[in-house]
């Protein structure tokens, strides 16, 4: 199937967000020409290579509820509509043409809902990440009972923009089967499951990990030879990604082994509103007050850092912990697997989709408070025996979740949609 170059309009509240890397790959590997409409953008050093060279960035403003610092739970759709409207206003002003395809991701805010008012003909693809259940998944099962009624009411109402996007798009796209399963049964059949892929970390370092382990350094600090390294990586150090579990496990491991350091990457401030109890707070500080670290010198907090620094951490890691709640699989988990880390994750449905316990990683029942600790300790006690798990993990990502595998499939689907609309 030909994968023709297309003109694509991308809309996502934040750039590069999730779609930026996809657009970038399609520009560089398939000759696409793209307009990427967003409300905010990361600092320039986080932009992909093709910006200004086939990927044109356009920022749109928002008005009304979207300009407020925070809105009441009952106004979340109003805010989403402000994003969608803001995008439409700039489309009308800039009038990008031609457009073969529109691809959007609302990400709980808003994206392409009104784009067809400007461009009614092109097919519309939407990427769907998550569908809220009132008392299940993420942190809901743990906090809904102790939180104000409005929290559950918000969760029952927060899917409105997703439902509107689902009804009006031509292709509903979601990265994993677990994410598809979150959506109401009426929509599941139409949700196309295709992962958007993990970028390869650059030219492969074929040095065996045991050789590499002898000369490791992280963020300018040398890791002493013979030291075991465990890693935790997340956008922010929050309960959703299991940082509380990591904290308790790491403390126990530090007590058990004097040759261990724990390397932690992520913003200490909780960014997602899902954790209503700690949102916008420094969660590691909260944990430190509750349970003092057994050896602070061996807890290396790197903060939010660059992709290359993350790659360095993962290359040095002997064991990567991902003890998060049921939520879409973190890219850092797939990146750890791609780097050949031995991964120990919470035994949740989303993790089971990418990790086969005992084959491509390890899963621990978090209902048993010691299970994570016991499995981690067994890995640290015998790294060589567990090394095949890391190698199998890297192969799993290479074969199923790499950009080189995933994005040609996406390009083919996009090509077919555009051709169908042209009547070919």
């Amino acid at each position: 199937m030909a994968q023709d170059p297309l003109h694509v309009l991308w809309v996502e509240p934040h750039f590069p967000g999730r779609l930026g890397a996809v657009a970038d790959w399609l520009v560089r590997h398939r000759g696409y020409r793209c307009w990427f409409y967003c409300h905010t953008a990361e600092a320039r050093e986080h932009w992909p290579a093709s910006v200004g060279r086939g990927l044109e960035l356009q920022v749109f403003g928002v008005g009304g509820a979207a300009r407020e610092q925070a809105v009441a739970w009952s106004r979340t759709l109003e805010r989403s509509l402000c994003y969608s409207y803001g995008c439409w206003e700039v489309l009308e002003a800039r009038r990008p043409r031609p457009i073969d395809l529109i691809v959007g991701r609302s990400a709980g805010l808003g994206s392409t809902l009104f784009a067809p008012v400007y461009a009614p003909a092109p097919p519309r693809v939407n990427l769907f990440d998550y569908y809220f259940h009132p008392r299940q998944n993420d942190l809901a099962a743990e906090i809904a009972a102790d939180t104000a009624t409005a929290y559950v009411h918000w969760r029952r109402s927060a899917n409105a923009i997703e439902l509107l996007d689902l009804e009006q798009c031509d292709l509903a796209w979601t990265p994993t089967h677990w994410q598809r399963h979150l959506f109401p049964p009426e929509y599941r059949h139409d949700l196309w499951v295709q992962h958007d892929g993990i970028a390869s970390a650059g030219p492969a370092d074929n040095t065996p990990r045991n050789v590499r382990a002898a000369r490791r350094s992280l963020a300018g600090r040398v890791v002493p030879e013979g030291t075991r390294v465990i890693s935790f990586v997340a956008r922010s150090l929050e309960r959703l990604r299991g940082f509380d579990r990591f904290w308790h496990t790491a403390n126990a491991l530090l007590r058990a082994r004097a040759d261990l350091i724990c390397v932690i990457v992520g913003d200490p401030v909780v960014q997602r509103g899902l954790d209503v109890q700690h949102h916008n707070q420094d969660y590691p500080s909260y944990l430190r007050k509750a349970v003092a670290p057994s050896d602070p010198e061996r807890l290396w907090f790197l903060g939010r850092t660059t992709p290359s620094a993350v790659a360095e951490v993962l290359a040095a890691s002997d064991l990567h912990l991902a003890p998060g709640r049921p939520y879409p699989v973190a890219r850092s988990l797939l990146e750890a697997m791609a780097a050949g880390c031995v991964v120990l994750a919470s035994d949740t449905a989303p993790h089971r989709e990418v990790i086969s316990d005992g084959q491509t990683g390890l899963l621990a029942d978090v209902a048993d408070p010691d299970a994570l600790y016991r499995r981690a300790l067994s890995v640290l006690d015998d790294l060589a025996e567990h090394r095949p798990l890391g190698e199998a993990a890297a192969e799993r990502v290479r074969s199923r979740y790499s950009q080189e595998v995933c994005l040609p499939v996406l390009a083919e689907r996009f090509s077919m949609m555009a051709a169908t609309r042209r009547g070919e």
């Binding site: 009304g64 509820a65 009441a72 739970w73 009952s74 106004r75 759709l77 109003e78 509509l81 402000c82 409207y85 439409w88 809902l113 009104f114 067809p116 008012v117 009132p134 009624t149 559950v152 009411h153 029952r156 109402s157 899917n159 409105a160 923009i161 439902l163 509107l164 009804e167 009006q168 089967h177 677990w178 399963h181 109401p184 049964p185 009426e186 929509y187 599941r188 059949h189 139409d190 449905a349 989709e353």
Partner: protein
């Protein structure tokens, strides 16, 4: 069986149904309502025998006028919260079944945190982004929200629909307005027309204080609001042409000046679509009686006087007035649009012509007025259609059966569950 009905207004779709279920089957029927309706009004028996609970009215709930379109979903959520608070405050109100009107989304979103019973949505309508309902009248000047509002107006409907246990629509066309993915969960059950009230027969030849001269022909037009979606402007064009051809016709127009659907105020710049229409043409208003809103008994008398009922709706939910006119045995001339064609078969139980074809509509209306006896068979067939398919007597038994089936299945074990293809639910 104890059913809790939820609707902004009472009696609306559910009052008469509740009364019949109580009177004939001994069910307990409770209602959470915001206001008593003036179209139609509740009967004394309804007020005395049904279990009515008044919801508090916030400023936003009193009128939807002036609420910016992006805030409609927020208003819906506040209504859901109001219903939630009202049920929580009434611990004795624990029904076997909730039946909720979903015209702007059934306000049931939070009830599953309180009630362990199935929820049925009355799936009145799902708005289109073009070619139907409020987007149909492209002949009128454009209104600023027109491209945007239809793309978000269904959010309350979708939120309540994915959450309910079953749904029903009044007609097949209304069911088809919903996305196909939901069709297996929506049954079709019409509300039921009161054929004892709306029946053929003699009526006093007077309207209000005015008596009707012998030989005067009556043409009726009825709508809750005299607005573009119901074709009031097109009716006035047809009426003006009939006036030029015949001097013996009186046009009786029933309906308020409120705008219930669409953007007539924005289309015209006038607060009243009726006044805007009247200002556009050279109408001989001595030939018209504008009655505003009237009681059902009065409407039934007027329909019995009618020689021709004109119904020129855009493709949208068919008005009760069309069913009422047919039940009364009046020949009906209606717009040839799919929701009307579900009820009216051209030349059999009524007449249909293209909505915008003023020439055809006028010609056919004049044919009927020239030979009322010749067209009386259409009125008789219309009455039969209503008796057999749309009367209270024919509609309530299947609705009762539907309610019982859903109630027996229980919450979460509903039609939604039974109709689901298990092979689609596999995670991987």
């Amino acid at each position: 069986m104890h059913v809790l009905f939820l609707h902004d207004a009472f009696p609306a779709q559910f009052g008469r149904l509740g009364l019949e279920l109580k009177r004939c089957h001994g069910w307990k029927c409770s209602f959470l309502v915001q206001s008593l309706s003036s179209c139609p009004t509740p009967t004394t028996e309804m007020l005395e025998s049904l279990d009515l609970h008044q919801l508090p009215l916030s400023a936003e709930h009193r009128s939807s006028d002036g609420i910016p379109w992006p805030q409609i979903f927020g208003m819906y959520l506040e209504q859901c919260q109001t219903v939630f608070d009202a049920v929580r405050a009434r611990p004795n109100l624990r029904p076997d079944l909730v039946v909720a009107h979903g015209g702007r989304g059934a306000p049931t979103l939070f009830l599953k945190d309180l009630l362990d019973c199935p929820i049925i949505n009355y799936c009145e309508y799902y708005f289109a982004t073009s070619h139907r309902d409020i987007s149909y009248r492209i002949d009128l000047p454009p209104a600023e929200p027109a491209p945007f509002f239809p793309r978000c107006i269904n959010a309350p409907t979708l939120a309540s629909l994915v959450d309910c246990d079953a749904g029903y629509s009044a007609t097949h066309w209304q069911k088809q307005s919903f996305p196909a993915r939901f069709h297996s969960r929506i049954e079709v059950h019409f509300d039921g027309i009161d054929t004892a009230l709306y029946r053929p027969g003699p009526a006093p030849r007077r309207i209000g204080e005015a008596s009707l001269p012998q030989g005067t022909k009556v043409v009726t037009f009825v709508a809750r609001g005299l607005e573009s979606i119901r074709g009031f402007d097109l009716f006035m064009q047809v009426a003006a042409r009939i006036c030029r051809q015949r001097t013996d016709v009186l046009f009786v127009v029933v309906g308020g000046e409120e705008i219930h659907y669409g953007w007539d105020k924005l289309h015209t710049g006038s607060p009243s679509f009726k006044q805007w229409v009247l200002s556009q043409g050279d109408h001989d208003l001595s030939r018209f009686l504008f009655l505003g809103r009237i009681l059902p008994e009065h409407l039934a008398d007027i329909l019995r006087l009618s020689n021709l009922h004109i119904y020129l709706s855009a493709p949208f939910v068919v008005s009760w007035s069309l069913f009422n006119a047919m039940a009364t045995g009046v020949p009906v001339l209606a717009s040839d649009v799919p929701p009307v064609r579900e009820v009216v078969e051209n030349g059999v139980n009524g007449l249909v012509e293209p909505l915008f074809d003023i020439d055809r509509l006028t010609a056919v209306a004049l044919e009927v007025l020239a030979d009322p006896a010749g067209f009386s068979r259409l009125g008789k067939a219309a009455r039969r259609t209503i008796e057999e398919t749309y009367s209270i007597e024919s509609c309530i038994p299947p609705i009762k059966d539907f309610f019982e089936r859903v109630a027996i299945l229980g919450a979460g074990d509903s039609i939604k569950e039974l109709s689901r293809d298990p092979s689609r639910d596999r995670l991987v």
